[in-house]
Each structure stands twice: as C-alpha cells, then as structure tokens.
Amino acid sequence: MSGEGMQAVVIGASAGAVQALSRILPALPGDYPMPVLVVVHIPADRSDLMAALFQAKCRLVVKEAEDKEPIRPGVVYFGPSDYHLLVEADRTLSLSSDEPVHFSRPSIDVLFESAADTYGPGLVGVILTGANEDGAAGLRAIAALGGLALVEDPAEAFAPAMPAAALKQCPGARSMSLGAIADCLAARGAS
C-alpha cells in the first residue's frame, strides 16, 4: 500500500474510544509524516485528559488542539471537550462553540467535513467504536472527494452502532480490524 499523496489522518471515536485508540496511535512511528487529528466524544465537564493519557503511550507528540494553531506533521491533535475542531484552508486548526451535532461537541462530522474540504483526496478518515451516528456523513464527504475511508469492523467494535452507520452511509469505506487499520495507517506514512 503506498502513501502517495496522503497528507493527513482524521479519526473519530466514541464509546470504547480509549481502548481502540490504544491499538492504533502507539503503532504509528515517531517519524510519521502526517498530522493525526482525533475527535473523541467526552462529557463537557470532564477535563481534557486524552492528550496526556496518549502522550505516555505514543512515539508521536500528542497534544490538545489549540485555536489558530498551525497543523504540523507527526503530531497527534485531540479536540478539546465542549468545542468543535475544524481544519481551515490555510492548514491551521480552529475551534468553535457552535451547537452540538448528533448531540456531540466535539462532533466527528464537523472535523471530517472541514478536513475533507482542505485535504480532498489527500485525507484518510477513520471511524472507530461508538454508539451514535456521528461521523458517518463526514466519512461520506471524505470518500466523495477521493479520500480513503476506513471503518472498524462493527462485529469487533466495543460499540458497533457508529461504525455500522458509517459503512451504511459510506458504502465505499473499508471495514477492517483495529490491527489492520493500524498497519494501514503506518504503511500510508512509510512511503
């Protein structure tokens, strides 16, 4: 599998996110040439612990995304709780306080659709375990612009609803095990 033209990875996860992401993010090499943008549904009143949690497990730099921050390759950005995370055309990040989408803020759809606008066919989108439909429309937008759409196999997912919804709305997406997704992402960065 070549990494030709790939420029960024976006990942969305909900219920069961920590375990699923623990199979994927630590598998990425320290010299990974793409940014990885991650949105996880976390309650608004929970402090933002994801970045610290995963920094301890990963070879990449892991941080919470900041408003107006330039996107750098080889960095994993987690969207802060209670804000949407978006990608701007000039390849900076922005946050918004707009209303929740699918009862979620951050919303996976919001990240995926804005990232698809900026990266077009250079984007890899990954939907992992979760219990609602957020991310399905976003993944469809990525595939429609020629990006690569990957989905955790619902049969193996902690919560199958979100990957199942993504596969239904985005028939071109590939359903894979977590191990296969990790291998695929690592290979995309290795070319």
Binding site: E66, D67, D82, H84, L86, E88, S96, S97, D98, E113
Partner: protein, 275 residues
C-alpha cells in the same frame, strides 16, 4: 484554498455582498465555521446555491435577519465553565469592590446568558447596584432575547448546577419565575444594562470599563481580526482593567499579548498592564 472551487468563490462573494449592502462584515471570520453555517442556512432556507441566496439577500432585507440567525446565534449556558465565574467571584470581585462605580462590557452577549450570570454574581457580591453593564451584539434578534431574559425551562437544571459550582451564594430560583415551559428572569437584574448594537469588526471604543467579558466570540475571527478586537479591548479598559475570554481562547499568539498580563491562570482572565 484553491481558487477554482466554485462553492468557495460563491461564499466569498456572498460575504462581500453582506458587507457592501448591509455593513455586516464576516469576511474575516474563520472560514471553516462560516462555511458550515452558510451550508445549513442554504439548505434550511431552501436555496439551490449560495449565489441564489446572495441574490435573495441583496434584494430582500427580511432575508438578512433570517441569514443572521444562522451566522451569529450562539447557544450558551448561564455560568458556562463555573471555574471562570468562581475566579471572577474570588479573585476579580475583591478588586472591583475598591471602585465606587463600575462599568462592565459583555461583548458579544448573544441571548444574554452570560449577562444574567454576571448580574446574579454581582448581586451576590454586593456590586450590582454600583455597576452599569453594556451588553453588545451585532444581531438585533439576539439583543432582543437578551433584554427579555426568558429561557426555556428545560435549560434551567444545567444553569442551576453551574451556578452552584461557581460558588453561588443564593438559589438561582430566586431570580426567575417559571410558567408555560419558560423561565423569565427578574427585570431587576437588567435595571442597569445598556443593550446596544456594536461590532468588534467595524465599530470603535465607546466607553471606559473596568471589566470586559468576551467568551467564545473571538474564536470565530481570523488572526488579524482577533488582533483588532483585542486592541479595542485594550483601549476600552481602564487602568489595570480585567479581560475574561473563553476557556480555549488565548492571547498567546496575539500582537497585543504584551498589553495584558495573566491574572487568573487557567481561567483565561487577564489584566491590562499599566505602569
């Protein structure tokens, strides 16, 4: 942005039209959010394209107010981020008590949740009677909602929890009357409030104030526009005046970062630096 994307061209033209025709300037808002909001507006208002929406809004000012609701309305909560209000209460209020009279600017007040939070907090801290609030927004419908102080009853539970977490010294239920699924907040909270149309993008300094709270407004601006707004805040603040921002907003990358010092670390409360 690639120059050949038709939708992006249409959006830029629509924003230009709004500015030229009505002096609403969204041209320097962060584009990804604006695009998302405009897409929702186009779908829900039933237009085939952004060009068709532009045509309608140019020739029909009634369409403007409908579009503005998509572009500006923010749903906030009372006492959103209770730690911010607790810091205002515990760290900022003691300084404000040293002034015989106070002016406070709630910039981008939207439908008034933040204004009412401050009015309640100032009442609890014995500051309300000496304070004049300026509550400003660019959306007339939002200002009207703020001035009415009526919120859906199903939001009150979250407001009440936030108020308690902020160190509230009274019960939120002391301040509203519930009827027909709505909570109407007491008009005594708005006795010393000036509601006004003001744009951080195009308008100037209008008063000297001791405290400005502007939360999750500048997050929608691009960097140069953020700098304009922060310059306006610096020039509107009295000596050693206070500025409160949203929990994910920062002065760190701003041209005006030197004009402010961090006052409450972690709660995004700054103080104007003066010798």
């Amino acid at each position: 942005m690639t120059g050949d994307n038709v939708e992006d061209i249409e959006i830029q033209l629509l924003l230009e039209a709004l500015f030229r025709r009505y002096h609403y300037d969204f041209r320097h808002y962060a584009q990804a959010s604006i695009k998302r909001r405009l897409k929702q507006a186009r779908l829900q208002l039933g237009f085939r394209s952004f060009s068709a929406l532009q045509d309608a809004v140019l020739h029909d000012s009634a369409m403007l107010s409908r579009l503005l609701d998509f572009l500006t309305v923010q749903v906030s909560e009372m006492f959103r981020d209770p730690g911010y209000y607790r810091a205002m209460r515990e760290k900022v209020a003691p300084h404000l008590r040293t002034y015989p009279s106070l002016k406070v600017w709630i910039a981008g007040c939207s439908s008034g949740e933040e204004l009412h939070s401050f009015a309640i907090l100032f009442g609890e801290e014995g500051l309300l009677d000496r304070t004049l609030f300026y509550a400003t927004d660019i959306n007339p419908a939002a200002l009207e909602a703020a001035a009415s102080g009526v919120y859906a009853l199903d939001r009150i539970k979250a407001f009440t929890e936030n108020h308690q977490k902020s160190g509230g010294k009274s019960s939120l239920s002391d301040y509203y009357t519930a009827a027909y699924g709505r909570a109407a907040f007491d008009k005594s909270l708005r006795r010393n409030v000036v509601f006004s149309d003001h744009s951080l993008v195009t308008d100037a300094v209008f008063a000297e104030v001791q405290l400005i709270s502007c939360r999750n407004v500048m997050i929608y601006f691009d960097r140069p526009l953020q700098d304009r707004a922060l310059g306006l805040f610096r020039d509107s603040l009295a000596r050693k005046g206070f500025l409160g921002l949203g929990s994910k907003e920062s002065l760190r990358f701003s041209a005006h970062s030197g004009a402010f010092g961090e006052f409450v670390r972690g709660e995004k409360i700054y103080q104007r630096r003066d010798p």
